[in-house]
Symmetry: C2
Subunit: 104 residues, 2 copies
DNA sequence: TTATTATATCACGAAATCTCGATTTGTCAA
DNA sequence: TTGACAAATCGAGATTTCGTGATATAATAA
């Protein structure tokens, strides 16, 4: 985990909120995977357009934010058909808490 | 604690190192309070010029960094005569770890 | 008072980040 | 194959951050 990159990723209200919202996807976003007939294991993942709507920023901005959060390791993404579903990487978030508790 | 401001403050290698170094001041810096005859309770605080030397940046940069770290709450400062001694604010650092563990 | 030292503040150009609209790519359906 | 839609990438102007040298302030010493 690159702590500096994680800090940069979290140094923005919208990006911080995205990470928080994804802690409880069903509370914060509409049901996902709607259009697909096949049952897909989304593991709580949420598609870009749902996140964009909640965040109230442009499509390119949210795409950039999600990429940034993924590159920092905080989020994971999985593509199913037309949609890309993002979810939290709980292991990295746990690492982050441990880093602050021990290394910082 | 303003989490965003803390993240911004930690989004820089030198500033992150300063916070880490101040965890063990006696290991990382020369003895402090040397010129003063009066015994001063520095509580592990380190003066700006010692930090500047260790960090290898200009005086204005380190002063700016220390101000930023203090404004974020991560550091505390105390002036004694000509010197300003900076030390960690362990309570805020604990808050930070708790925030990540619970809120994030 | 004057000189010296420690730190803070100012002003600046360079580099990075922010956020957007436009365009491109990828996927599915007709 | 074409059209429609989701998401990623591109390009750009506005804002912020980076790090510096110069200057100002504050405290001590002579």
């Amino acid at each position: 985990m690159d702590f500096i990159e994680v800090c940069k990723a979290l140094s923005n209200d919208t990006r911080l909120n995205i990470v928080k919202w994804l802690k409880n996807p069903t509370e914060n976003f509409p049901p996902q995977g709607g259009c697909l007939n096949e049952p897909v294991d989304l593991k709580g993942g949420v598609c870009v357009s749902s996140i964009r709507e909640k965040a109230g920023v442009s499509q390119s901005t949210v795409s950039n934010y999600l990429d940034m959060l993924q590159r920092s390791g905080l989020l994971l993404s999985e593509r199913h058909g037309k949609w890309t579903y993002y979810r939290r990487n709980e292991e990295v978030i746990k690492e982050l808490a441990e880093f602050i508790g021990k290394e910082l």
